[in-house]
Point group: C2
Chain length 248, copies 2
């Protein structure tokens, strides 16, 4: 395990694309090459089966094949986050447990949603995450994303982090992400200590935490590889902290 795999996780965790062949079938050899590229570029971890990975064009069986192939191929070189979002709490819990048993370091989960119209309220969202948390022992990252169409308030996120055992990470990708993170750190989660900084040549918002509640940067692979290489060339900013999404 390299230092980045120690908790709290730190650094750049790109989202891996799912690799298909010309007929649209899974290309697991290509998948493994992609993962190697991302690790060689210096990724501190990898996230699979996210929306950028087009998880929504896969069957359940294909999801499992991608997950098993990646986890087996990474073999502990970096921590792997597996996205296990599903509308059903029991299916999401089973997927998450399966990911943990296969070697995932963390699961990333959006609140339940379907299409443009089906949404659930805070009480049900809370129960959803608690059900998943009760089924696993690895951390949950809440994915706060526009695709879910579910506004998650700072107070609600902080309450879930406080009251749900394994819920300890956030991927904030809604507009005004930096402001939301600041609010989350300063008002909602007093156990986080914030030092928002800028990197030397790219506008990341960074912050430092001394406990497990840390945010990670989950970015597209090419941008992430560029970031990783810059870090390797020594232009690394004072990163004893996590990277967040770049502000464009």
């Amino acid at each position: 395990m390299n230092p980045a795999s120690a908790r709290p996780y730190r650094g750049v965790f790109p989202v891996a694309p799912t690799i298909f062949d010309d007929r649209g079938e899974l290309d697991l050899d290509g998948q493994r090459r992609c993962i190697d590229f991302m690790i060689d570029a210096g990724s501190n971890g990898i996230c699979i089966l996210a929306n950028f990975s087009e998880q929504f064009v896969l069957t359940d069986a294909e999801r499992e094949r991608v997950m098993d192939a990646v986890l087996k191929h990474v073999a502990g070189r970096v921590p792997v986050i597996v996205t296990t979002t599903h509308f059903s709490s029991s299916i999401c819990a089973a997927r998450s447990r399966q990911a943990q048993d296969a070697g995932a370091a963390m699961v990333m989960i959006m609140p339940p949603y379907h299409g443009a119209t089906f949404r659930v309220g805070e009480k049900a969202i809370f129960e959803f995450y608690r059900t998943v948390s009760d089924a696993i022992e690895i951390p949950i990252m809440v994915q706060d994303a526009p695709v879910a169409g579910t506004p998650l308030s700072v107070d609600f996120l902080a309450r879930m982090a406080r009251d749900i055992a394994h819920l300890g990470y956030f991927k904030i990708e809604v507009p005004m992400a930096a402001a939301k993170l600041r609010d989350l750190i300063t008002s909602g989660m007093p156990d986080l200590r914030s030092t928002v900084e800028l990197g030397p040549s790219f506008d990341f918002h960074l912050f430092r935490s001394e406990n497990r509640r840390v945010k990670l940067d989950l970015r597209m692979p090419v941008a992430a590889a560029r970031s990783c290489r810059r870090l390797q060339r020594g232009t690394r900013p004072k990163i004893n902290c996590s990277l967040l999404r770049p502000v464009s």
Copy 2:
């Protein structure tokens, strides 16, 4: 086969709920009782695995178990429409082929969508439906629903019905459905002859067609059972045509 099963399909086709037990597991015995209730009430056909059926809380394997159980239990008593929507055209085509091979009379399909934000344009939607059509020999019903978050113009629907072999039915459930149907019939699809009528005691919009391009009413089971019983009691309006969604 009863007369309702002859094409073009006519009458009330309720959507069946998926039946779960107290633990949230599939209750296939309950599912069969539910289907019998709906047939006993006079349903002219049944639609399964729709949004009202909570298809989005099922695994792929559970979908197949529900489909196989219902089709085997109905055993041709009424035509069964199976919803096979998926973002992936190849997965939707495979699901649709599987439904046909298991005895489905029709498949119902929304255009590709995921969550609040992932949508595709008309060209890709057209190719999506054509790919599915090329894989099957039974009719496709386009589900024009707010949940898909994809506006489908009258001209586009008419063009698809004209140019895609098995695309011949529509479930219009967007606001102003009656107006959209009138436009679809009168301007977009000259091979449809429209007689929009009102039932005697419920406000259905009806219309008549002399070819295969007919709309069906896919309604909630209780409301549909009430409608069916009214039809059986002789208060049936002049239904040599299809029922559409009630106008509230």
